[in-house]
Symmetry: C2
Subunit: 315 residues, 2 copies
């Protein structure tokens, strides 16, 4: 392990890949590893990119990576695949497109799946981001589909969060995806050469105007792009820098990261305790009482109390 940490800090790509696999697979080894690199974490700038499937997130990530490389900075990309069978195909396509930038040794790309993992996805992705951070990547791009709590938790862990929409995402989607609206530092209307881009822009502006405005509050910029043609990507990057400077000027970056760290530590603690709580014994004990509850012979609250008492005694 010591050797792995040394190689990781020396920017050895295979060590990075191995370390992320450790973060993905095991709680204990992951915790052991992360405890050895914490003092090297905190220098990278983390950018979250989210939005509905088909909005062009991967293309934007791809183009942003090229801009970062042109500045001679190193970039790590973590793309989170959703579990849903409905979107699997599109994402596979995205990953293939991304191979265009795959030859550059200063771009590290990793796809992480939520399939099969019982929660803890955001924890794993944030651990992986810490690993990339410690390995000296200057920018970390976290790409997720804007569906589900753990996906949102991931992009909320970024310094700048970009929500990608397309002109077709009309008013109703925007309202529907209120969870997305509230986490955006920057909106991108991608595929903005399609009809409806101006209306989408106008409706986003209207929503922005409904927000509170004061000096401490960042007003999300709205950038129109055609990512496949590289249109609007330099402007997007300028907006990212404007947001970064805003956070720096107002001394908000530290504050933001403290809040994220709080959520992260709470998740680590709660994951651990949940695992202890639902050991085989208590899981079986719960299973064996379900029929009685459904048939009105036992109160669900009585069962819950018994499980709590048992947990308190045993932990």
């Amino acid at each position: 392990m010591q050797n792995l940490v040394e190689r990781l800090l020396a920017k050895d790509i295979r060590a990075v890949a191995h370390a992320i696999s450790i973060a993905e697979n095991g709680r204990q080894s992951s915790s052991h590893l992360l405890k050895q690199i914490y003092s090297n974490v905190g220098n990278a700038y983390r950018i979250g990119i989210t939005g509905p499937p088909g909005a062009g997130k991967s293309t934007i990530v791809n183009q942003a990576a090229k801009i970062i490389r042109n500045k001679n900075k190193r970039v790590g990309i973590i793309a989170v695949d959703p579990t849903s069978p409905f979107t699997g195909g599109a994402l596979l396509g995205d990953r293939i497109r991304m191979s265009e930038i795959g030859g550059d040794k200063d771009i590290f790309i990793r796809s992480m799946a939520s399939r099969g993992s019982l929660g803890g996805l955001s924890k794993k992705v944030i651990d992986a981001a810490d690993i990339l951070d410690a390995a000296g990547y200057d920018y970390i791009l976290l790409e997720t589909v804007g569906v589900g709590q753990s996906e949102l938790d991931i992009v909320k862990a970024a310094d700048t969060t970009i929500v990608v929409l397309v002109p077709e995402s009309g008013d109703s989607i925007q309202a529907m995806k209120a969870g997305l609206m509230e986490i955006a530092d920057i909106f991108v209307i991608n595929k903005s050469d399609r009809p409806g881009a101006e209306q989408a822009l106008a409706s986003l502006k209207t929503i922005m105007m409904m927000r509170t405005h004061d000096e401490e509050t960042w007003i999300p910029g709205i950038i129109k792009t055609v990512a496949t043609e590289n249109q609007g990507i330099p402007e997007l990057f300028a907006e990212i820098n404007r947001h970064k400077e805003f956070l720096d000027d107002k001394n908000l970056l530290l504050k933001k990261r403290e809040k994220q760290t709080k959520n992260r530590i709470k998740e680590i603690v709660e994951d651990y305790i949940r695992d202890e709580l639902w050991n085989d014994d208590r899981e079986n004990s719960l299973d064996s009482s379900l029929e009685k509850v459904v048939l009105g012979k036992l109160s669900p609250y009585r069962i819950a109390e018994e499980l709590i008492e048992n947990f308190k005694k045993e932990i």
Copy 2:
């Protein structure tokens, strides 16, 4: 309290309203109340209605309530208001429309807000459904906006879950809302007199065809409605009955309710333990170490371990 329970079981509407307020406000009193009524719970049929804002959920609930009353059955409605400021207005309008059926004493309507509650919303709503169940309502309609985990948890706790879409909700939304697709027992395409209804129907059918088909698996029906004109609502009700009979025939209702009960008990237990875990002392101790973590002077995993040790010692 004993008096309240007696009045509740005697179908006293004011007792029902009071009991739901208890379920909404306090954990201990709620648990005490629920433990007194469990043997009267389990007779009502629970229908969840969800979908994006503006899809017409409330109108459908309204019309469904009328059909239930025409069968001389009693109906309880719980409408969950989302916290988002973007949709508040529309929902207020819905509630006003619903006053059309508000005069009937065998229709009980209650609006529950997620605003300000730190989690636990689905727990409260399911408790409220148990109260209505014990008070002899034959049908319980649970209406929520299909955004956010707790909203999904609520409709997942129904016997039959209806997902309401509109013709404008095209392919991309459907993919985006994969979480909704997977919980639907019945799809409604409301406002189906608008352009695009046939395409929406076709694309839903395609998605259904991608699913596994066996005798134990229910294939969701797709019903076109114009709820404001009462078009398609009798057909929707027939489909609800077809689903109910399917569950009865295959002996799946008990199984489904057992699974829901398991989730519910786990949530009760985890809520309780999370409250014990994040008492003021540990919350303060966490807050005071955040800056050090962000500045790379402490590992988040070290802090997590200390909090876990402290919790184990004290509980």
